[in-house]
């Protein structure tokens, strides 16, 4: 049955190849980098081929569903399977492609790392989980994959676990997303108890047909959105994502910008009709995502670590996607705007990270001011690619970001309250500013002294941000281990070029994608005011960045330094980390942990001790009974029999 159906076979291969790669590498070939790499690449290439084949062959067709009941008993049946519809196919292609590109890129980036095999095993685990998440047909299966993705993320963030900050960041990511996942799980429980099915197609059609009570949609919708908040780093659970940048940069590109963090937004598109059926839920989502957009854009414009900038940019763009979806739902629009932005964002943000990875790899620092002063722009291809990606991020024609941002802003413009639109435009302005702050600093570096006043920037070369043993920077007077003529290995350049070309062409695939996702392409009434406003915001952001950082006699402090209070506020990341620290100390450690610890010490430990002591005591008693003297055993049996007999007789 499996082999006669190529589609099912493809789905199964997609899931089981990365799984076997993970198992093989972890158990057998961990210490053999070449072999591990080969296994992992094979297990990434075949799903890539499958993904693109499915995309072109099945794109226009009706959804294909495979459901297998996982039965425990007559009462407990849980469907597991695959759902291939346009929504999942697009994401399938994105995940398979970027994960393949990142695996190729990592050949160069991770070369010589002692944990090379483990790294590829973890990447395979991630591929398994993420691909399963994308094509799963039921919400429970999706949830399981969701948690597995979280596990892979934890392992990869803390990949250099010898480094305290890395292992701490991994823990933070795991715990913070868990807060959201509790909500997600509760939402699923609500759905199961009060509706009875977790099948995605069923839930969606029930929400459309109004056969679900509205309170249930709102409650479980909000609860499920908690999971989205955790995974897609929405306020106030966004704090883990910037810290997650402790992981290797390719991981940041794959997990923490393009695919895994987009899983939250993907979940929203996956059950979009269900979410859209509750206006309350969508309003809450709109508010939270707008706050996220503004918050993270403002933090990004004060950051000095290149990965931090892109991390906060990711948070803000995820917020932007969620805004697009929520606005579309409130104005009875479609999921296309948000989903399209997810697609383009995956391409250009992965590109941004991979380019930054090249610089980080080359200069051994995360501080882009240092990179600039050390001649970052001499790496021509990465510099060109990062500029393209930044243009896309800022939303400049003809790069992909322009088209998708335009769509989201259109969706926002359809709302009655124009405040959302204004905030969206403001976000676009900030985005353009902070991304071009990086680009202008890199392109037109000033003398190191010029940057001395930038808060957060440390003038001298830091030790390399990650724990590569292979790159010996310490003995190099110039602070970078590679000679300029060595250049950058082609395995790192090639993914950049692929992603850059995606960034260039994705914008023109809008109609094709829309037809694919919605079945029909809707002609857009061009809103020229909006067009002008959006491009104006982007251009003014870039212009301001030029004035602050680019031009020859720029002051290089940023306009924000005119408002010291605000600047401190942004540098302190809106004090969100402080808030969580206080919250944890006050409530979690202060109340819950204290009581649980007490309970553990007194009740559980005490109980176990009591059992142990009494066992030792009763052991003495039992050993008396348990003697070699069979007579006692027999006597005991007879006594018990007598007891049973008496009981039975008395019972009558």
């Amino acid at each position: 049955m499996v082999f006669s159906d190529p589609i099912l076979l493809g789905c199964l291969l997609t899931v089981f190849l990365p799984l076997s790669a993970f198992a093989l590498i972890m158990i057998f070939t961990r210490d053999n980098p070449k072999l591990s790499l080969a296994i992992s690449l094979v297990a990434a290439t075949i799903p890539l081929i499958i993904a693109w084949t499915f995309f072109f062959k099945l794109g226009g067709r009706a959804p294909i569903i495979y459901n297998f009941d996982w039965m425990v008993s007559d009462l407990v049946k849980v469907p597991f399977g695959f759902l291939l519809d346009p929504t999942s196919l697009v994401m399938f292609v994105i995940v398979a492609t970027i994960s393949w590109l990142v695996q190729v890129y990592s050949i160069g980036y991770m070369a010589g790392d002692p944990g090379f095999g483990r790294y590829y095993a973890d990447l395979s685990l991630f591929a398994l989980a993420m691909l399963t998440l994308v094509i799963s047909s039921g919400l429970l299966q999706l949830y399981i994959a969701w948690e597995l993705v979280g596990l892979a993320s934890y392992l990869l963030i803390g990949f250099w676990y010898e480094k305290f900050s890395a292992s701490e960041a991994g823990k933070k990511a795991f715990v913070v997303t868990r807060f959201g996942d509790i909500g997600f799980f509760m939402g699923l429980v609500f759905l199961v108890i009060f509706y009875g099915s977790l099948d995605i197609a069923t839930v969606n059609s029930a929400a459309v047909a109004n056969s679900m009570p509205p309170w249930l949609i709102t409650t479980s919708g909000l609860l499920i959105f908690c999971g989205v908040m955790g995974k897609s780093a929405q306020f106030p659970l966004h704090v883990w994502l910037p810290d997650a940048m402790e992981g290797p940069t390719p991981v940041s590109a794959l997990l923490h910008s393009a695919t895994m963090v987009a899983a939250g937004v993907f979940l929203m598109t996956r059950i979009f009709p269900f979410f859209a059926a509750s206006a309350t839920t969508m309003t809450v989502i709109l508010a939270i995502s707008t706050l996220t957009l503004i918050l993270s854009s403002t933090i990004a414009l004060a950051a000095t670590d290149i990965k931090q900038v892109w991390a906060y940019s990711t948070v803000s763009q995820l917020g932007f996607m969620a805004m697009g979806l929520a606005a579309a739902a409130l104005a009875s629009g479609t999921l296309f705007a948000g989903y399209y932005h997810l697609t383009t964002h995956a391409a250009f943000k992965a590109l941004l990270f991979l380019c930054s990875g090249v610089f980080i790899h080359h200069f051994g620092t995360n501080d882009f001011f240092t990179m600039a002063t050390q001649g970052g722009r001499k790496l021509v291809i990465p510099m060109a690619c990062i500029t393209i990606a930044a243009l896309a991020l800022a939303g400049i024609f003809p790069f992909a970001g322009f088209f998708s941002k335009e769509l989201i802003l259109t969706a926002l413009a359809h709302l009655d309250n124009k405040l959302w639109l204004v905030l969206g435009l403001f976000g676009a302005f900030l985005t353009a500013y902070y991304s071009f702050r990086v680009i202008f600093v890199m392109l037109f570096p000033k003398s190191p002294e010029a940057y001395s006043k930038v808060p957060g920037h440390i003038a001298h070369v830091e030790d390399e941000a990650h724990g590569h043993g292979a790159h010996g920077h310490a003995d190099d007077a110039h602070g970078h281990g590679h000679d300029e003529h060595h250049g950058v290995p082609w395995v790192m350049i090639f993914p950049l070029l692929v992603l850059a070309s995606f960034t260039l062409i994705l914008g023109f695939c809008q109609d094709y994608l829309e037809k694919l996702l919605l079945g029909a392409s809707h002609p857009h009434a061009m809103n020229y005011f909006l067009l002008v406003a959006a491009v104006g915001c982007a251009l003014s952001g870039i212009a301001l960045a030029w004035l602050d950082w680019g031009r020859k006699d720029a002051k290089c402090v940023g306009f924000i330094s005119r408002f010291p209070a605000l600047q401190t506020f942004f540098i302190q990341k809106w004090y969100m980390d402080h808030f969580w620290r206080w919250f944890l100390n006050r409530f979690i450690y202060g109340i819950f942990s204290k009581w649980f610890t007490y309970n553990d010490r007194r009740v559980v430990d005490g109980g176990v001790d009591a059992v142990a002591f009494s066992t030792v005591g009763s052991g003495r008693l039992l050993s008396f009974i348990q003697t070699a003297f069979l007579q006692y055993n027999l006597l005991f049996m007879v006594v018990v029999l007598a007891g049973v007999g008496i009981y039975l007789m008395m019972g009558r």
């Binding site: 425990v72 008993s73 059992v611 005991f636 009558r652």
Partner: protein, 486 residues
């Protein structure tokens, strides 16, 4: 005077015949083969078991009785046949290298295992109390001998003698109970006739109850239920490890097969009476087994107490006495066969030559030295503790659901509490394997192909039926349709 020989079909007892012929063949070959020459008895035994398994599958779905109503032909029996065959086959596989080390790889060992299996089949399919008793004796006598296989070993001797004396005593109880029922029913021991006959005369009620009490003691001894468990630790520790595995798994399954068949078919009318007794027995068995297991440092002794605890869980299914309970009995016994035999396989492997290392501290550092072996052991421990996604979890889930469905909430709660206690000593093995360094170099583990295969197969099985229990659930549910009283 004329005798009429009732018509019968040999095919309905095909598996018994095959196994009996195999065992006799092994004995004859053993006697005829020149001294010192090795005949692969284990392969012969496996072939016989395989044929029997095929015959069982061929019998699947047929219902009725044969041999003058002496034998049931139904899926309940067939299901148990497969459990016994599986248990026996895995035991044969784990025995070869082990016995070779002791110089005891003899034909009679395999013959006895197979004779015992035939006895178990009689117990599972017997429709007459005497048939069940015959089966019990065929099985028990074979196992008494097996327990004393290592004649030179004092502990093995002690185990055999203890088992023999106490076992005979319990058989006597059982027989005595049957005699009571014979009297009370006015002269029949057919399970089908008993319910009607026993209810016919109220004056006979005390006799019936006494008979039931005696049966409980007899069966309770064989399943190692507290307080009739006292033989278990000594016998399990003293007997050869492979025999211990066989006793812990197949003998227990056979005893439960007969126990369930007799009580569910013959005494549903007086359920209230025996239910309460079994309730107490179940709680006592679980608790004593688990608590005593905590303080064990010998792995065989620990597994002995663990098997007592599992008898307690299975008794819970008996107490529930509903369809789900009967089903869970079948499922759990199959799961238990897999996980326990797997664990014993690891015990034999880690014990190296001649059971040299049976202390639980000998497992320290196993995770580093033999990751796959340690992972399998961890899996079996998780399964025995009842942690998903293993078969042990699903089995416990069914049993506890059955108890709750039957209204025994407190029994289920006590069961869950006991599972919690059991996690302590099962996980201790895992902790030792992974978190403690090896205390000394114990020498290499010799992975014989058969033993490795057993560990791999059982590990795969434990996971497979744990993750996909649906198919077995349906099979077992169909098999227990034969109990109309539930």
């Amino acid at each position: 005077m004329t005798f009429t020989i009732p018509s019968f079909h040999l095919s309905s007892i095909g598996p018994w015949l095959t196994l009996t012929v195999t065992a006799i063949l092994i004995l004859v070959l053993d006697a005829l083969s020149p001294k010192g020459r090795k005949v692969c008895f284990s392969w012969l035994a496996l072939a016989g078991l395989a044929v029997a398994a095929f015959q069982t599958i061929g019998l699947w779905g047929s219902t009725g009785t044969d041999f003058a109503r002496m034998v049931y032909i139904d899926d309940f029996a067939n299901f148990f046949y497969l459990i016994f065959i599986l248990g026996a086959a895995l035991t044969v596989l784990i025995s070869r290298q082990y016995l070779e080390d002791y110089g005891k790889n003899m034909g009679e060992y395999y013959a006895l295992i197979i004779f015992a299996t035939v006895g178990m089949m009689l117990m599972a399919a017997g429709s007459h109390l005497i048939m069940i008793f015959l089966g019990l004796e065929i099985m028990s006598i074979a196992v008494y001998v097996l327990a004393g296989l290592f004649r030179e070993d004092l502990r093995s001797n002690e185990a055999a003698l203890k088992y023999l004396i106490l076992g005979s005593f319990s058989s006597a109880f059982l027989l005595f109970g049957m005699a009571m029922l014979y009297g009370a029913s006015g002269g029949t021991l057919f399970l089908n006739d008993l319910p009607l006959r026993l209810g016919a005369d109220p004056a006979m009620a005390p006799l019936v109850l006494l008979g039931v009490g005696l049966l409980i003691v007899g069966f309770g001894f064989k399943v190692a239920a507290a307080p009739f468990h006292m033989w278990t630790p000594d016998v399990y520790e003293g007997a050869p490890t492979s025999v211990t595995a066989f006793m812990a798994v197949a003998v227990k399954a056979a005893a439960f097969a007969a126990f369930a068949r007799v009580f569910f078919l013959a005494f549903p009318a007086i359920k209230v009476d025996w239910n309460m007794v079994l309730w107490v027995l179940a709680v006592a068995t679980m608790t004593i087994g688990n608590v005593a297991a905590i303080s064990q440092t010998n792995i065989k002794r620990m597994l002995a107490y663990s098997s007592i605890a599992h008898a307690g869980y299975l008794l819970m299914a008996m107490v529930a006495a509903n369809q789900l309970g009967a089903m869970s009995l079948l499922y759990y016994l199959l799961a238990y066969t897999l996980m326990n035999l797997g664990a014993f396989g690891v015990v034999i492997l880690v014990g190296r030559k001649k059971d040299s290392y049976l202390n639980i501290y000998d497992y320290s550092g196993l995770g580093a030295a033999h990751p796959v072996l340690a992972a399998s052991m961890a899996l079996f421990m998780f399964a025995l503790a009842g942690i998903p996604p293993t078969a042990g979890f699903v089995g416990k889930f069914y049993i506890f659901s059955a108890a709750i469905q039957a209204g025994y909430i407190w029994l289920a709660i006590i069961g869950v509490m006991n599972s919690l206690v059991s996690v302590f000593y099962y996980l201790r093995i895992t902790v030792l394997m992974y978190m403690k360094p090896a205390e000394a170099d114990l020498g290499p583990v010799v992975f014989s192909p058969a033993l490795t295969a057993v560990v791999a197969l059982t590990a795969a099985g434990v996971l497979a039926i744990g993750i996909f229990p649906g198919c077995l659930y349906n099979l077992a549910m169909n098999a227990v349709k034969i109990f109309p009283g539930l």
